[in-house]
Amino acid sequence: MKSNTPHLRKNLPAALPKSPSPARGGGQGGGSGGTQGYYDYPVVRRPVWTWEVPAYFWLGGLGAGAFVTASLAQTFGSADDRRIAADGFYVAAAALVPCAPLLIADLGRPDRFHHMLRIFKPLSPMNLGAWTLTGLTPLAFARGASHAADTGLFHGPLRAIAQLVPRRLTEVLGSFLSLTLAGYSGVLLGATNVPLWAKSKLLGGVFMASALSSGSAAVTLQAARRGAPAATLHRLARLESAASLGEMAILTGYLVQSGKAARPLTTSRFAPPFWLGAVFAGGLLPLLLHGVARGGHGRTVRSLSTAAAMCTMIGSLALRWSIFEAGKDSSEDQSASFDLSKA
């Protein structure tokens, strides 16, 4: 129920706390044991962020993952791998474009977005992320432009300029920034006092794995679309599967460590997007599809790889969104907050 009066009970829990009934005997505190707080008011404030933030985590992670995949293919891959995977630089540039606008839209004062860069303060993950995004976006565009020059997409002076980009240096610097961008988001959420985000220390790893699986999936998707040779597709699929397996493993660790604090995610209204979207569609189904595609040829491999890659990417969005939204509910979980701050 939303009130029209701006300051009216704006952040009380959706269901107003019930006053302790006399039947509860012990009332509050009173030495009855257990952790009983002040009515059932939350200990910490509900995060004010909206959908833009998980959308940014997803796109930023995907772009970063695609950049890293493409860069690693340039260093270690065969000629086919290099040619096909370099499209990942396009993917990265395209995915990073909406990131800054999303972040700015989520600010309380979007007109002051540039205040993020008035200091360099890596102690604050938010500041680190702003700088990383600022650095990575032009690098992704530069490397994408040099790929466009290589493939003949650019002509004339544009091509000459794009060919000036030092490829290897851009790849190394960009990969470093990409891994930072993919890795800091879970740490940012973890650097709060929201039980679901902060109880386990693995959330940064979960988001990193999700970024890398969705990023490599985006490269696979583009490779399948362009009719890449089966061998390259198989290798990309193997890489994507490895990332998905890692994601499922660290996600399991995250859930186990979170314990009761994970309830708003695992058993509440966010259970369907989490279990069906993030775990099944984003992890198990792509592994299965890639398994079936193994040893296949031509169109079968392409269509199975496409389906698997899309599942991974959608699952990655479901993961960010459900953990993000469930975290808001978790912030109102008084006993989980007390649990988190136990001596």
Binding site: P6, L8, R9, N11, P17, S19, G25, G26, G27, Q28, G29, G30, G37, Y38, Y41, P42, V43, V44, R45, R46, V68, T69, L72, F76, G77, S78, D81, D106, L107, R109, H115, M116, R118, S124, P125, S175, G183, Y184, V187, G190, A191, T192, A198, L203, G204, G205, F207, M208, A209, L212, T232, R235, L239, A243, G246, I250, S337, F338, S341, A343
Partner: protein
């Protein structure tokens, strides 16, 4: 050259540090009159919270927030004692704790949150861009962002300033000034801490066995966020007042979190190198 840069950027020298100022809120003296809430709202020109009735004792404020910087709690306790019930009523005026290691200040990406010359934590309203990171970072749920559809300093983060404007003029903060029972005491933190220890001794001597201080340098609640410059004398365990037993400072676990993140990234890079090399023969 540095001087030239400072002139160019219009950078001023920060004011010289003064003695740390703070509050000692002695809940054993609080009568729940809410004068502090009203005085705070008036002096700081904060808008009203509306007229919602929570049904929780006399507390219709609920909690601290962007436009509520003092909050009086009413804790009704009933305990069976043989055939009859023993009742007691605890009241406590909650406020920003002005932590020595403030989570909000460390989270702030713009430098809007600063430590003043009085060792208090202050939000510079002309710098804050409303990123909202300080809101879930605070272990006490103090600081909050004003909603975009509000009429008051829209979109930026707010909390108790310890009446920074009054401190500048050597005046007592509005809440402490208005408190009729000296439950809210303002002064130099060191001196207040001495006073608190003495008061606790008195209460213990009178048989208040559950009385305790919350936010002193020697307390376990100072383990991560450091001593609280607004600290409390409580008559029950901290949880009864919705205060965390050991308030967490997110920075303490950040390196480990980045470590796991980096481990996954390096693992992926190694797998990718192996997979791609396999295709090279």
């Amino acid at each position: 050259m540095i001087d030239g840069y400072k002139r160019l950027m219009n950078l001023e020298e920060p004011p010289p540090p003064k003695k740390a100022k703070g509050f000692f809120t002695d809940t054993s003296l609080c009568i729940g009159c809410k004068a502090c809430e009203v005085a705070c709202k008036q002096w700081n020109q904060l808008p009203a919270d509306g007229f919602a009735i929570t049904g929780n004792s006399y507390d219709n404020t609920g909690h601290l927030g962007a436009t509520t910087w003092r909050h009086v709690q009413f804790i009704e306790q009933a305990k069976a004692n043989g055939s009859r019930q023993e009742q007691r009523w605890l009241m406590m005026s909650d406020v920003c704790k002005h932590c020595a290691n403030a989570a909000c200040l460390e989270a702030c990406p713009t430098g809007a949150l600063v430590r003043t010359e009085f060792d208090t934590v202050y939000v510079q309203q002309d710098i804050c861009n409303g990123c909202g990171f300080c809101v879930p970072a605070c272990p006490f749920g103090v600081i909050d962002r004003v909603p975009k559809e509000s009429t008051f300093e829209v979109g930026t983060a707010h909390k108790c300033t310890l009446c920074y404007d009054r401190l500048k003029d050597d005046m007592t903060p509005a809440c402490a000034k208005s408190c009729p029972t000296a439950s809210i005491q303002f002064g130099d933190v060191e001196e207040l801490q001495q006073r608190a220890r003495q008061r606790l001794g008195e209460l213990k001597a009178r048989g208040e066995s559950t009385a305790r201080l919350y936010g002193m340098p020697e307390g376990k609640e100072a383990a991560e966020v450091g001593p609280l410059h607004a600290f409390f004398l409580l008559l029950d365990k901290p949880e009864a007042y919705n205060l965390p037993e050991v308030p967490r400072l997110p920075r303490k676990t950040m390196a480990e979190r980045y470590g796991w993140s980096a481990a996954v990234g390096i693992g992926f890079a190694m797998v990718a190198a192996l997979v791609f090399r396999g295709g090279r023969q």
